[in-house]
């Protein structure tokens, strides 16, 4: 293993490789920041460019892109309420209110720092668990996938503060939207209204662009003014305060990274769920949950550390069996195949140097991306001072082009519009968008793993209570659902005691 690390370093420390790494990082940042583009698109578009490269050069380019996208995505999430990539959606909840308060610089600094640290922790964990990677992947079978998805839905619904009921409703609506399209289990196309565009279902990225970006643009043009309600604040921002606040609140960052790595390792669940779950855990564990969603810096640190840690986690299934843990790794493995490698369960034995080149690249790139964002944060924060009547048209058109660019389908632009209108009313009437998003992400895997469980167990529901991890997950679900009642009860008791005293 040590030889491979040296060999990987040797591969990496050439002018060419470093050049490609920096290039990949910059491309990743830009693609991350523009909604709709993101890592998968970037890697797919760069494939022809890698044909002339040596394989490890291609790896540094692709690795640079992979590690930088979610850092780039945090910038637009904070400044414009527009998640650059899907996992950044959770960052908007507190990042954008901070920008509105004129603290965009602080939020950008914290997000970038949390990203770098989360990324590093993810990679370190990855290296540490290599010996037991196979066992980890095999731990989760369909019953566990199903319960994990239900747990994710419940935990996130509970974290919506005083709106649990509405959170559960929007979760149902999100699942309903997720049912549209092809159902792999039965091989049927459902709820398509005869429109063949819908055969592939409602896609997450255009939905998020509508739900967050365009809905907020509608909101802004109703309100007028500028994003930052306190322009003076923006100018005196110290970016470095954002760096410090992450180190000061290291438990939040560590927790976020742990959640990110773990969830990132579960194929089909991925970064969006990781970031949301990290956010909701943070809210639930906080002493002052009512400050979240209104500009609590911890609400930025939690999801941002998680969504970079997931890159390390998503490589666990790759190292174990040569299978992708995320859409990005799927395309990345495709690049390896095009370069004549044959990733499979023996990938670690056959191509150890390739793996370590990738790991080192991810490490360097996530730090580099952070440094770039920190250097630019001050000027980027000035975006919040632009008159909304200039900002809204500009952001709207780029967001809609982004929605289209994902799959080159005009239908996706309409999806973004529908979700924008729904999203706007959801903001207005305080129906949580968190649960809606997460249900849309988890809908497919929930249904699929439910059916698989039933087929595997021959319709025997006891399968859910006869497996160790399933039981743990059931307990977690029960605990998360009863949490608000428990909280209310203990608060009441405390008040009574204080009243008595």
């Amino acid at each position: 293993m040590f030889d491979s690390v040296l060999l990987a370093l040797d591969n990496l420390l050439t002018v060419n490789s470093m050049g490609f790494l920096v290039m990949g990082t910059c491309i990743g940042l830009v693609f991350g920041a523009i909604p709709g583009l993101g890592g998968t698109t970037a890697i797919a578009l760069l494939i022809p460019l890698t044909f002339g490269m040596k394989e490890f050069e291609a790896i540094t380019l692709m690795g640079g892109v992979m590690a930088a996208t979610s850092t780039g995505g945090s910038v637009s999430a904070i400044l414009l309420n527009t998640p650059g990539t899907a996992p950044n959606a959770a960052t908007t909840f507190d990042g954008y209110p901070l920008a509105q308060q004129g603290k965009a610089g602080l939020a950008l600094g914290a997000a970038a720092t949390a990203s770098a640290l989360g990324g590093l922790i993810g990679v370190i964990t990855l290296v540490a668990v290599i010996p037991i990677a196979k066992e980890i992947v095999l731990l989760f079978a369909p019953p566990e996938f199903f319960l994990l998805a239900v747990f994710g839905l419940c935990a996130i619904a509970v974290s919506t503060g005083g709106r649990l009921l509405q959170g559960l409703i929007t979760a149902c609506v999100g699942l309903i939207a997720g049912f549209v399209g092809y159902d792999a289990v039965s091989g049927e196309v459902r709820y398509d209204f005869g429109i063949d565009f819908l055969w592939d279902g409602v896609k997450l990225v255009p939905a998020l662009i509508g739900l967050f970006a365009i809905a907020e643009m509608i909101n802004l043009s109703v309100k007028g003014g500028t994003v930052a309600e306190n322009p003076e604040m923006v100018k005196i921002q110290k970016i470095f305060d954002g760096v410090k606040v992450v180190f000061k609140n290291y438990p939040t960052m560590l927790r976020g990274s742990a959640i990110g790595t773990f969830i990132g390792a579960v194929p089909g669940v991925g970064g969006t769920v990781a970031a949301f779950l990290s956010y909701s855990t943070q809210v639930q564990m906080a002493k002052d949950p009512e400050t979240y969603g209104k500009g609590n810096i911890l609400g930025v640190i939690a999801p941002e550390s998680a969504n970079n840690a997931k890159d390390g986690g998503s490589l666990i299934p790759t190292l174990a069996f040569g299978i992708p843990g995320s859409a990005e790794t799927a395309v990345f493995l495709g690049v390896l195949i095009l370069h004549g490698l044959d990733p499979g369960p023996t990938i670690l034995f056959e191509h150890e140097d390739v793996i370590f080149t990738l790991i080192l690249t991810l490490t360097i790139s996530c730090v580099l991306a952070t440094l770039i964002v920190l250097a630019l944060a001050r000027s980027l924060a000035l975006l919040t001072l632009i008159d909304v009547h200039v900002l809204v048209p500009a952001v709207t058109v780029v967001a809609l082009v982004g929605a289209y660019a994902l799959n080159s389908e005009i239908g996706d632009v309409f999806v973004a519009l529908v979700f924008a209108v729904v999203g706007y009313w959801m903001i207005r009437f305080d129906y949580p968008r968190v649960t809606f998003t997460i249900a849309l992400v988890l809908g497919e895997i929930t249904e699929r793993s439910f059916h698989q469980t039933m087929l595997i167990s021959d319709q025997n529901w006891s399968i859910f209570v006869t497996r160790n991890i399933s039981i743990i997950l059931l307990v977690l679900i029960a605990a998360s659902l009863s949490y608000p009642s428990f909280r209310r009860w203990s608060k009441k008791r405390r008040m009574r005691r204080e009243g008595a005293a």
Binding site: A44, Y182, G340
Partner: protein, 309 residues
């Protein structure tokens, strides 16, 4: 200057006309889109992305791979079927997957598999029946001895793995129950290794990676030799085919250009070298042979229509 441009244009026109006898003048003259009816990163995706730059050199225009995923590949196929037959849209297609959904009459099938213009075959692979490396089952006979319904993993109803398992089980006299919803062959491998299901049917290439690591073990091969050993030669008809199609009614001149470029590209030394290194099987066929193959296969599958309802 103008004269030179004009002369150049004439020379070019003559050259193209001579090169492609009977063709519509000046094909190809713009970007050709090579559709992959699946998400980026899978097996079909890789073949197309490896092939595109080589075809580009032969045809002299850009060949852009484009993923149109959805409905288990039916969306992309339907898209191609409805496209203009001008030679600027072609797609990779898998059989029997694409044929079966049509034979079943499923919703979301907007095409007639036999009416496509078939340009050729890139690759074809035989199947194996595999169990987990640690499993005690050693043969088909062992499976039958279990005396219960055998669970097998698949991607979805109507997909290639589904068709193969239903027909093979029928021929072998096995009672199988399909657990669907796994993502590609890697998802199926994990399902078998984890013990979700007893067996799964894999294309030989996908299986071989996991055999090397000892995670999967074949109990029967469905190639010609293996099928003969099982005493059921009909099983060797079950193969996965990766073909290339154009919309129905493609003019014969354009068809010839594309067909020749495709065939030459698959036989290109660079492409062959890649396929060998990345361990991807190749089996180049021309358009005519592909059409014959499709007719045979559709007949074969229609004969087993009642097995997959």
């Amino acid at each position: 200057m103008l004269v030179r441009i004009a002369l150049g244009a004439i020379a070019l026109a003559i050259a193209t006309t001579l090169a492609i006898p009977g063709a519509v003048a000046k094909y190809p003259e713009k970007t050709i889109t090579f559709i992959i009816p699946y998400k980026p990163g899978g097996g079909f995706d890789t073949y197309v992305r490896a092939l595109a730059p080589i075809m580009e050199k032969r045809l002299g225009v850009t060949v852009v791979p484009k993923n149109i995923p959805g409905a288990g590949g039916r969306k992309g196929a339907t898209h191609l079927y409805k496209s203009k037959p001008d030679g600027y849209r072609i797609s990779i297609m898998n059989l029997p997957g694409k044929a079966i959904a049509a034979i079943q009459g499923k919703k979301g099938v907007g095409y007639d598999i036999r009416k496509f213009t078939w340009l050729g075959q890139i690759a074809s692979d035989s199947y194996v029946i595999a169990v987990a490396g640690k499993s005690k089952i050693k043969s088909i006979a062992d499976l039958k001895k279990l005396g219960r319904v055998i669970k097998t993993a698949g991607t979805g109803k109507g997909a290639t793995s589904y068709v193969v398992s239903q027909i093979a089980a029928n021929i072998l006299g096995l009672k199988v129950k399909l657990v669907t919803g796994y993502k590609g062959s890697s998802g199926m491998s994990i399902a078998v290794i984890r013990g979700d299901t007893d067996i799964a049917f894999f294309a030989y290439r996908s299986y071989s990676k996991f055999a090397k690591s000892g995670d999967l073990r074949a109990i029967a091969a469905l190639d010609e030799k293996g099928a003969a050993m099982l005493g059921k030669p009909g099983l060797s008809k079950l193969r996965i085919h990766r073909l290339v199609a154009a919309p129905p009614g493609l003019p014969s001149g354009i068809k010839k250009t594309l067909e020749d470029a495709l065939f030459a590209s698959i036989n290109d030394a660079g492409f062959k070298k890649w396929a060998k290194k990345a361990r991807r099987p190749l089996a180049a066929l021309k358009g005519k042979a592909s059409e014959k193959l499709i007719d045979e296969l559709v007949m074969f599958y229609t004969g087993h229509k009642d097995k997959f309802k």
